[in-house]
Subunit: 104 residues, 2 copies
């Protein structure tokens, strides 16, 4: 669909993309972690897009199997949610992924 | 209001009360922590009450200044959210509060 093409284009053109909701603390946690690492992620607040928000969430679920927020992509690759991203960071595996994607 | 009386009655009659939302990870975290400590909190899922949910949230905001979830009460006393409850636990201050309220 056109929406799916847009999402794929967004993921291809931006080193780090976070699909988020403004009032969700897990979304805030992952945005704060990335900013602390000197990364300027493209943040898409799904609750500020009207009817498109849930539609994009459906596309993300089709593409990744994940309907929840936050939904994090680095270098076009699906990383997962907040706990996944934090786990990678603690293992020292997040920063190499960010460097590889020219995000830092 | 009648609703405010109901909320006050709930807080007076139950040693531990958590106002939550089913899909919120911070709410899940605090419920999991309390259950791990052997406590059976009274959990009120605000997103399952229809129009009463937001009304109760307004009452809680009037009573505590906090409109967010989770909203935790022990022995009728307002504790705060997830980060507040976890901080108390880490300082060893949560379990004495739970014992005092006959929650354990
Ligand atoms: N472990 C996941 C949890 C994700 C999650 O459950 N997110 C919630 C908000 S905190 C959500 O999107 N809930 C909506 C739903 O469950 O439909 C993560 O760390 O991101
Ligand atoms: N630090 C607070 C954060 C609470 C918070 O921001 N909760 C969010 C959901 S995770 C909320 O209720 N958002 C609704 C709103 O901001 O209106 C806690 O630990 O409980
Ligand atoms: S909505 Fe509460 S942590 Fe996401």
């Amino acid at each position: 669909s056109r929406l799916e093409d847009n999402v794929k284009k967004t993921l291809a053109e931006n080193p780090v993309v976070v699909y988020s909701k403004t009032w969700c603390s897990y979304s805030s946690e992952v945005k704060t972690l990335l900013k602390r690492l000197g990364v300027e992620p493209l943040v898409i607040e799904l609750d500020e897009l009207g009817p498109q928000g849930p539609q994009i969430q459906k596309v993300l679920e089709r593409l990744t199997g994940q309907h929840t927020v936050p939904n994090v992509f680095i270098g076009g690759k699906h990383i997962g949610g907040c706990t996944d991203t934090v786990k990678l960071y603690r293992k020292g595996e997040l920063e190499p992924l960010l460097s590889e994607a020219n995000a830092k």
